[in-house]
């Protein structure tokens, strides 16, 4: 019986078409974000302002008809701090995660990985180990949300978040896209400009600001 089960499983695998059987959703954001410190718990932080231009490319790869899949993403941000006009960077790869598809292109997903963030002369450069939660709902008009907790490999930046349940730093974004939705070529998709509230915690300070961006999402119907 066990042997038959193995044979059946092998045959099923042999006949599987990986492209036909694959599904999922992918999303990409271009963002311009500026934040300013609005509250301090440990005195004046080394950087009171931070402006970043960023690109975020993520996806959930799932079996064609499944609601659940693997989530991975790459995020890259370059910019500057106002004080000292220091070059700032924030880059991460989050290859290990899971996501749940909701509706046609909506989803909630979490992923973890590694990266680096700093601004020479102001924010001490450090390796980061982020855990990121992403959620988007809607089609053309779409709610976009992201929250990220980072473990930071630098003593001067440890415990820098007053609110994070774990980790040393936190950043988050909640926005609304006013865009368009499409169903061309059998793929539900959408794109458009969005505006979002941006929030970050590091060095014991709370930063708030705004994000302007452009986002694209595309999915394969389940």
């Amino acid at each position: 019986m066990k042997a038959w089960a193995v044979v059946v499983a092998l045959c099923a695998t042999a006949h599987a078409d990986p492209v036909e059987d694959a599904g999922g959703v992918a999303w990409m954001h271009y963002e311009a974000t500026a934040v300013h410190d609005v509250a301090q718990t440990r005195g004046v932080p080394p950087a009171r302002d931070l402006a970043l231009a960023s690109a975020h490319l993520h996806g959930i790869l799932a079996p064609r008809h499944s609601r659940f899949g693997l989530h991975a993403g790459f995020d890259l941000a370059l910019g500057a701090t106002a004080r000292g006009a220091a070059f700032a960077y924030d880059v991460q790869l989050v290859p290990i995660g899971i996501g749940m598809r909701l509706g046609e292109t909506s989803f909630i997903a979490v992923a973890a990985g590694a990266g680096a963030m700093g601004a020479p002369g102001t924010i001490s450069g450090a390796a980061t180990f982020p855990v990121e939660l992403d959620a988007e709902a809607g089609r053309g008009v779409r709610v976009l949300a992201r929250a990220r907790v980072l473990l930071v490999e630098r003593a001067s930046r440890s415990d820098g978040s007053p609110s994070a349940p774990f980790g040393d730093e936190l950043d988050a974004m909640l926005g609304l896209r006013i865009g368009s939705a499409y169903d061309e070529y059998g793929f539900p998709s959408g794109n458009g400009l969005f505006v979002a509230a941006a929030y970050r915690e590091m060095y014991g300070a709370r930063y708030a600001g705004v994000t302007l961006g452009y986002s694209i999402d595309i999915a394969r119907p389940r």
Binding site: Y30, A55, S180, N191, G192, L193, Y214, I216
Partner: protein
């Protein structure tokens, strides 16, 4: 709001060249790009070189994946919102047309054989390669992703001919008298164009400022 957002993206470029088909009294070569379809229309463009010999009515469009003919070089389905980047006329266009005819087939075949939608080689890599092969001094817009594909690592003179670039699939840089400063990160371009002046962005027509020409 959607219309305003669309207008904001479309109106980033001042003094675009008008889409007027020139008279056929002399040979004409034009560099044109169009948007890809939804949902990537605002981040990805596709180029074609339109060639029409003196006295002829039809244009030959050189592009990846193949060469085609048309009577209107700006209406090229499925590409939207065509932008005319550069026009060569007369003796200069005769030389360009000969060169494109000579080189295009081999470059198209090479790219078709190794085609990768992102980061390249793709249709934009063809645009850049044919411009450089034929000394046609022009730049593709920053949203022509794949224009800077030089393999795993590559360096050389820019298509505009007044600068140098060093590229890898992950990061690259272009510096030039006319090109300005352009940084490429995972195929996205950000920078400052010196002439005509503009901020180079990886969105919409690829620049905020005056149209390139």
């Amino acid at each position: 709001v959607k219309r305003l957002a669309g207008l904001a993206l479309a109106s980033c470029v001042v003094a675009r060249q008008p889409l007027v088909v020139p008279a056929n009294d002399v040979t004409t070569v034009m560099l044109v790009t169009g948007e890809l379809g939804h949902p990537i229309e605002n981040i990805a463009r596709h180029p074609w070189l339109a060639v029409r010999r003196a006295g002829e009515a039809e244009w030959t469009l050189y592009e990846v994946p193949s060469t085609t003919s048309t009577s209107d070089p700006f209406q090229h389905s499925p590409y939207l919102d065509p932008i005319l980047h550069k026009v060569w006329r007369g003796a200069e266009a005769d030389r360009a047309a000969d060169c494109i005819e000579h080189h295009a087939e081999a470059i198209i075949r090479d790219i078709d054989d190794h085609y990768v939608f992102y980061p390249g080689p793709n249709s934009n890599t063809f645009g850049d390669r044919i411009l450089r092969a034929c000394d046609l001094h022009a730049s593709l817009p920053s949203t022509a992703i794949g224009k800077d594909w030089r393999g795993w690592i590559g360096a050389g003179v820019t298509s505009e001919g007044t600068g140098l670039q060093l590229e890898t699939p992950l990061v690259g840089v272009k510096l030039g008298l006319k090109e300005g400063v352009e940084i490429h990160v995972i195929g996205l371009s950000i920078g400052i164009d010196f002439w005509p002046p503009a901020i180079i962005l990886p969105l919409g027509p690829g620049r905020l400022g005056f149209a390139d020409r």
